[in-house]
């Protein structure tokens, strides 16, 4: 049986851990608010962009040459998976659920005999995927030093992807990230970004869809300029959603860790008190029986 001192030590150490998890939870909560705001204020831009692009693609003159970013290369041999995860751990199932989605996707593609390439954004996903797809991972992009995710970060990744696409390194790119539904619900999502998937927006934009636009410069040029930007915006949105999801997941994980620590302290304190009482009783019995023996 553990001595009183051992029990006391154990309780102190659990208490220290609880303090840390509690602090991490509060930090995550504060960061979450900021990340959530950033994710929300980036939404109008992405929506407007999708709307303009949708109008443009819908009204595109038939027979005109469409950019490869929209039409694709016409093949689907090589798939590129862009897996966005966090740089840090201790955030529950956040990293592993994104990685699992990407892994299942990669396995399925490989079973179909396709070539798979992986770009990891964030170190944690890389750590997980490295075990199985060592040869498939072509690059790791770290965003560790970045304090506030901005347009520039997304632009860097987009430029990287475009360079690879133009070099013919892949046919289809899919982005993996976690969509931020609420503080407790983050949904791992796969989204095809190259060739661009354009949702029909006729209903949403109403009258403006019917209007015949003049294009300055030409239709094709605008589309060619718009598509890479759309890619950047999609990536930026994924990164921001991911950041918010990460903080949400960490908050949840740390909350339950704090609660677990509390339970453990309760249990240990109970054992400690019982042991203490048992020892006092034992000592008393020893004294009494000693006195009786005299």
């Amino acid at each position: 049986m553990a001595s009183l001192k051992d029990l006391r030590n154990r309780i102190t150490s659990v208490k220290a851990t609880q303090k840390i998890t509690k602090a991490m939870q509060m930090v995550a909560a504060a960061k979450l608010r900021r990340a959530q705001m950033a994710a929300e204020s980036a939404r109008p831009y992405a929506e407007r962009m999708a709307q303009v692009l949708g109008n443009l693609a819908a009204n595109l003159t038939p027979g005109a040459e469409t950019p490869r970013l929209l039409s694709g290369t016409g093949q689907d041999h090589t798939h590129l998976l862009v897996v966005c995860t966090a740089e840090r751990g201790l955030c529950g199932a956040f990293n592993s659920s994104i990685s699992r989605l990407a892994r299942d996707h990669a396995r399925r593609l490989m079973a179909q005999g396709k070539t798979v390439k992986i770009i990891c954004v964030g170190k944690k996903g890389y750590d997980v995927l490295r075990r199985e797809f060592r040869d498939q991972i072509v690059e790791l992009i770290e965003l560790r030093g970045v304090r506030q995710l901005g347009f520039e970060n997304a632009e860097g990744i987009a430029r990287n992807l475009l360079g690879r696409y133009d070099a013919g390194e892949f046919d289809i790119a899919t982005l993996f990230y976690s969509r931020f539904r609420s503080v407790i619900a983050q949904i791992p999502t796969a989204q095809q970004i190259i060739p661009a998937e354009i949702a029909p927006t006729e209903a949403a934009s109403g009258a403006s869809a019917d209007a015949v636009y003049e294009y300055e410069p030409g239709e094709g040029e605008i589309l060619a300029a718009l598509l890479p930007r759309n890619l950047t915006v999609q990536i930026l949105r994924a990164l921001l959603e991911n950041a918010a999801s990460e903080q949400g997941a960490r908050m949840g994980a740390m909350d339950s860790a704090t609660r677990n620590a509390g339970e453990m302290i309760k249990k240990q304190t109970l054992i400690y008190n019982r042991t203490r009482q048992a020892m006092i009783t034992k000592e008393l019995i020893e004294i009494i029986s000693g006195a009786e023996a005299l």
């Binding site: 950033a38 204020s41 980036a42 109008p44 831009y45 407007r48 962009m49 303009v52 443009l56 901005g150 347009f151 403006s208 209007a211 015949v212 636009y213 003049e214 294009y215 300055e216 410069p217 040029e221 605008i222 300029a225 718009l226 930007r229 915006v233 930026l236």
Partner: protein, 133 residues
């Protein structure tokens, strides 16, 4: 005077939304001023000053760097790649941008791209001069 709805959307936030009299845009094919009832146009933007006239004698200036403008009779939406309102702009920011653009200029061999960046630098210099007034 008639007004129309104007939205200026940056990647990180909405910078302006409201009814305005006129907006002057740095279109890639030349500057243009949009008034209510404009024909529908979709144009790309170059680096330059966007001049918003809310009502006569009242307005705002915003430095935009690339983007799109969607114009129709009742509304104008500018999707700017980077946009900085004049109040937040300092010569130091523009200088940093000019330096970055010059680096890009030196890094590229493509003639068309060089021309494009040259235009950007000229626009930024102009903006800097406008700022000192």
């Amino acid at each position: 005077m008639a007004t129309f709805q104007f939205d200026l959307v940056g990647p990180e936030r909405i910078l302006y939304s409201g009814a305005v009299d006129a907006v002057q845009l740095p279109g890639s094919e030349g500057e243009m001023t949009v008034l209510p009832g404009h024909a529908p146009v979709l144009t790309t933007l170059k680096t330059g000053m966007l001049v918003i006239t809310e009502s006569p004698q009242h307005g705002k200036r915003v430095l935009v760097r690339g983007g799109f403008a969607e114009i129709n009779a009742t509304s104008l939406t500018v999707i700017a790649e980077r946009a900085t309102p004049l109040e937040e702009l300092t010569p130091a920011i523009i200088d940093a941008d000019i330096a970055a653009a010059e680096l890009l200029y030196d890094a590229t061999d493509d003639y068309d791209r060089k021309l494009e960046i040259e235009g950007q630098i000229a626009q930024l210099r102009e903006a800097k001069v406008a700022l000192s007034f």
